[in-house]
Amino acid sequence: MTATNGIEVAGVVREFKNGPRAVDGIDLEVAPGEIYGFLGPNGAGKSTTVLMLTTLLPPTAGSARVAGHDIVRDGAAVRALIGAALQEAALDPLLTGRDHMRLQTTLQGLPKGRRRARGDELLERLGLADAADRKVGGYSGGMKRRLDVALALVHYPRVLFLDEPTTGLDPSSRSDLWNEVARLARDEGVTVFLTTQYLEEADVLADRVGIIDHGRIVAEGTPERLKAEIGRPSVEAIPAERSERDAIAAVLARFGAPVAASPGAAAVRLENGEDLVAVVRALDAERVRVADLQLHQPSLDDVFLAKTGRKLEADEEAAASEPAEAAA
């Protein structure tokens, strides 16, 4: 790789004792200034990949270069050029936000005269200035995540690793963090490697997406290209009466193959040439009453389903139903 702010991974494997291969030979490239979304269910190998790329876990096989340096032979140089907010916001509950900044700016070797200003600048930018002198133990989940990201940025990293940065956050905190990540890539040219199990996050934020399952990358490309590979939209009908669900499913089956639908509803992936108007006419002709009829464009979940035979949404919903952040 000629550009020095990117990521290049070739055949990286990580095996744990008496366990399966957590990462099973992945190859990927992330261009400088790009936001790369690494999407997969729990246990797919996302965090293990991040730990290896951030030099905290040596790979069993393969090689990788981050910001132009080999992650095994030149770990210190890699660490000097990267920032990372790992899966759990690793903060000391007894320290204040400002204490964290002071510690991080010192350990990262910023000149003495710059430390306070850099800490204040980041606390302000991440919306934590008012809470800077409060102990982190009293922060909400969103505040902790933002502080975690701020700490990862103190030494002006060229590559930023964010491991599931918005898990457990409310929609507002999630949106704030997305805006900051997008700004970093757009305005400062920071390369972002973002793992997530939220389809929407990858769709909204990532320039390119890699989908990992069982330690292997099963699909990679821009969200638009991946969805275009699936091509055809699906149509979902919710019956007015539950008893009419089978009748509706029978009508829809004329237009394509069944796909997963909401509880009590029926859905099919439309075959080429079929459209919603034809579906409405067929339902009307059969005199079945429909409460709602929706046309879904292909989503990344459809991509995941097509590549793995499973839906990612189930994992996502389980994660989303975990306790949301507490109030500050």
Binding site: R79, A90, L94, L95, L103
Partner: protein, 257 residues
């Protein structure tokens, strides 16, 4: 950035952690003083035993808070490092250019600073209550030095356990073991005046006895080379392997390429 600067920042963090937890500040100061007061009140008559080295039990008992304070230092050091493992803070540190030694050095320095402050309070209370110090001002400084070395020894043991287990509960669980060692020592009576043979035998092989005797020798006898050599020697014999063990455990915890 120098190791000293990194260590100083980590020490500052350790001191802040302690000061922001009243449960980590008040018990290490109050409990040893209360126990000492109880012993002095209840065991003053022991000074009438033939061969008891002083006529004021306070002079004998002043060593107790130093040892008990050192036990609290072990809990503070171990709990703090275990929490860093549990919360993932250790990984954050691993991603910085921090030298591994700075973490341990800073943690122990912070704990020992708190131990030094506690020691001064023990002495101030002791002098206010009538403590006589045979070794003079120099002896007070040597007592503080030995007290700090003992605190370092126990804090390093706590750090070793905290880093090896990564569990605050495990660190807390070791406290009763240390406490038993304290009570099966010459903490309340000189070894030669312990009547029960088994107790005297245990107290004689228990290294904690020599820590007590080294500390109190300065108060009661002045400059007793043998007692001081044993006190400093035993404290070093605990501290050195504990520091080395904690360093090795830290290397395992702070893995990076």
């Amino acid at each position: 950035m120098s190791l000293a600067e990194q260590g100083a920042e980590m020490a500052r963090r350790s001191i802040l952690q302690t000061l922001r937890q009243p449960a980590m500040v008040i018990p290490p100061i109050a409990f040893p003083l209360v126990l000492m007061a109880v012993n002095v009140g209840g065991l003053q008559s022991a000074t009438r035993l033939p061969g008891f080295p002083t006529d004021n039990y306070l002079n004998f008992a002043i060593a107790f808070p130093f040892i008990q304070g050192a036990l609290f230092a072990s809990i503070n050091a171990g709990s703090s490092l275990a929490r860093d493992v549990e919360t993932g803070f250790m990984r954050r540190l691993a991603l910085t250019p921090m030298q591994r030694a700075a973490l341990l050095m800073g943690n122990l320095a912070g704990v020992m600073t708190v131990a030094l402050c506690s020691s001064v309070i023990y002495l101030v209370v002791g002098f206010a209550a009538g403590l006589r110090f045979e070794a003079g001002v120099g002896g007070v400084l040597v007592l503080l030095a030995l007290g700090l070395l003992i605190a370092l020894a126990f804090a390093s043991l706590g750090a070793l356990i905290g880093l090896r287990t990564g569990s605050g509960e495990a660190v807390q669980g070791v406290f009763p073991v240390f406490f038993v060692l304290v009570f099966l020592s010459s903490n309340a009576l000189p070894r030669e005046l312990i009547e029960q043979d088994w107790f005297r035998a245990i107290a004689t092989v228990n290294p904690v006895s020599y820590l007590f005797e080294g500390l109190r020798s300065l108060v009661i006898f002045g400059w007793d080379g043998e007692a001081l050599a044993l006190g400093f020697g035993v404290a070093l014999a605990i501290a050195l392997p504990a520091v080395l063990g904690a360093s090795a455990a830290l290397n395992t915890r702070l893995v990076r390429t």
